[in-house]
Point group: C2
Chain length 304, copies 2
């Protein structure tokens, strides 16, 4: 139980178009990307909701990755569906259609068997629901969260309340800027940190990640890829690789957090190489380790 992770977030069927192709009603959602990414490192337990249109093959896929789906509730109705398109540079995405369906009234109930899990990841959902999750779990060792522009805009006080209760936040650069009101990422990270989290990790997509802690900073580039097919889920895969590693070593001092950021970076690099979780579901710790070592080489320079 000490090395297990609980993730609460969305489970979706995505329809995605990029300049390189498209995919229809494929497995997606923050909790899914996170779980599959983290499952290369640790046992993951997922809490989410799907409709009765949710294909059994996707449940099997999660189980094949040893992800526990006790907390994945099936409700009558349709699964959360998102349709989006990425243009030329893959950095900007447009939501073409959004159907919350059963996700609309999602109110995560943590199964008793999950309540003693020590590593908790609150993927991007309504901050009030994130707070509800925290009320249900007993004595976690490490809590990390994500959020998004929508909640920062409409429920900033609740986002702040979540921040006051988590150890780590993993957030997009644009959302960090939105939260702080400053264009400067160092300033933004500091403002977020003042709300509570000891560690603030800012994801910058193809530009890597920046980590801000009280006594140290850390900057990691993205893993350079010649072919990026679909950036959907990259941020959640980053968080999954990151938490997965921390839980697996059951330590989170400066050394492990930095390593975990590299593991998150590398895990995300696999995610974007195909649509949905097609690539992510095929990899294991050995694949990840290979790119970890490559990234070590790519960032190394001699001291003077």
């Amino acid at each position: 139980m000490n090395n297990e992770i609980l993730v609460v977030g969305s489970v979706a069927l995505d329809t995605i178009k990029t300049p390189f192709g498209d995919a229809k009603a494929v497995l997606g959602g923050s909790a899914v990307y996170f779980s599959i990414a983290a499952s290369s490192f640790s046992k993951v337990n997922i809490v989410g909701v799907v409709g009765n249109d949710f294909p059994d093959k996707y449940i099997k896929l999660l189980k094949k990755r040893k992800i526990d789906v006790t907390g994945l509730v099936k409700q009558s109705g349709k699964t959360f569906r998102w349709t989006g398109e990425y243009k030329y540079d893959l950095n900007q995405r447009e939501t073409l259609d959004l159907q919350l369906n059963v996700f609309k009234d999602f109110n995560p109930e943590i199964p008793d068997v999950y309540k003693n899990i020590k590593y908790i990841f609150l993927a991007n959902i309504d901050p009030e629901l994130q707070l509800n999750v925290l009320k249900q779990v007993k004595n976690p060792k490490l809590v990390a969260c994500d959020t998004m522009d929508h909640w920062i805009k409409d429920k900033k006080d609740k986002v702040c309340e979540v921040l006051s209760k988590v150890d780590i936040i993993v957030i997009n650069d644009s959302e960090a800027r939105q939260f702080s009101g400053s264009a400067n990422l160092v300033k933004s990270a500091r403002k977020i940190q003042e709300c509570g989290p000891k560690v603030v990790i800012i994801k910058k997509g193809e530009h890597g990640a920046f980590c801000f802690s009280k006594n140290w900073h850390f900057a990691a580039p993205a893993f350079p890829l010649e072919s990026v097919y679909d950036p959907t889920g990259a941020g959640d895969s980053f968080a999954g690789g990151f938490m997965g590693y921390l839980a697996s070593c059951d330590r989170f001092s400066e050394k492990e957090v930095k390593q975990a950021i590299i593991f998150g970076t590398v895990t995300a690099s696999y995610c974007v190489e195909n649509f949905s979780v097609r690539r992510l579901q095929t990899i294991n710790f050995q694949d990840i380790k290979k790119r970890y070592n490559e990234l070590k080489k790519i960032t190394h320079f001699e001291p003077i």
Copy 2:
């Protein structure tokens, strides 16, 4: 002479507005930023043109940095003037006014005493002029260049000819994408490399730099700063720190090129801390070394 650098490029009087203030008719231009940046490492010789409105104090400033101004020609007329504004996030700049003045008919003539210089930097000027410079110098050891969107659009064949004659190109990410027609930076770097340069360095502003060589890659973050006042000249300062270091150690294998990229990164970080060269002109190698070591810490992570 072995460790000296020759730079050919623009010398300007800039009027700049950012969200943090403004500056009127201050010292600028690619060759100027480059020279002052490189002068913390090596002796620099500058070739450029100014008008008779160019203030003596700026000549003195260059001389104080031990920059040789034999090749800085004064012509009757006005100095090249650029007026620009940066908005909120400092990433996008708008040119409000551009007066080429004496720079319009600039055709660099390399003084005889400069012709044996071994390290040549062709800052952003018309590629035909860059080629003229290369015809005048004798047996250089290392040639690097920059270019810009304007030339890639209008004189791509000439840009390609320059590329076929240089060892290293230092180029913006947007220009690399424009040159290659691909949004992917790895692909873009490869396409540029196919035109000639052994080393392609892509500058990504606040996101650092990425370097592509035949047998190795290197990624460096920017130096994290809480206060950026004016990004003008950051790219040229990067190139100056980069070439300055390579010339100072008179070697350019993988090890030195990677170190030089870090020196370029750190030198550029000082540039953006004030308008014009106000900050850059005050620093020395010890200041640069301090941030080099900080960046070493910020990027270091343990192997697994």
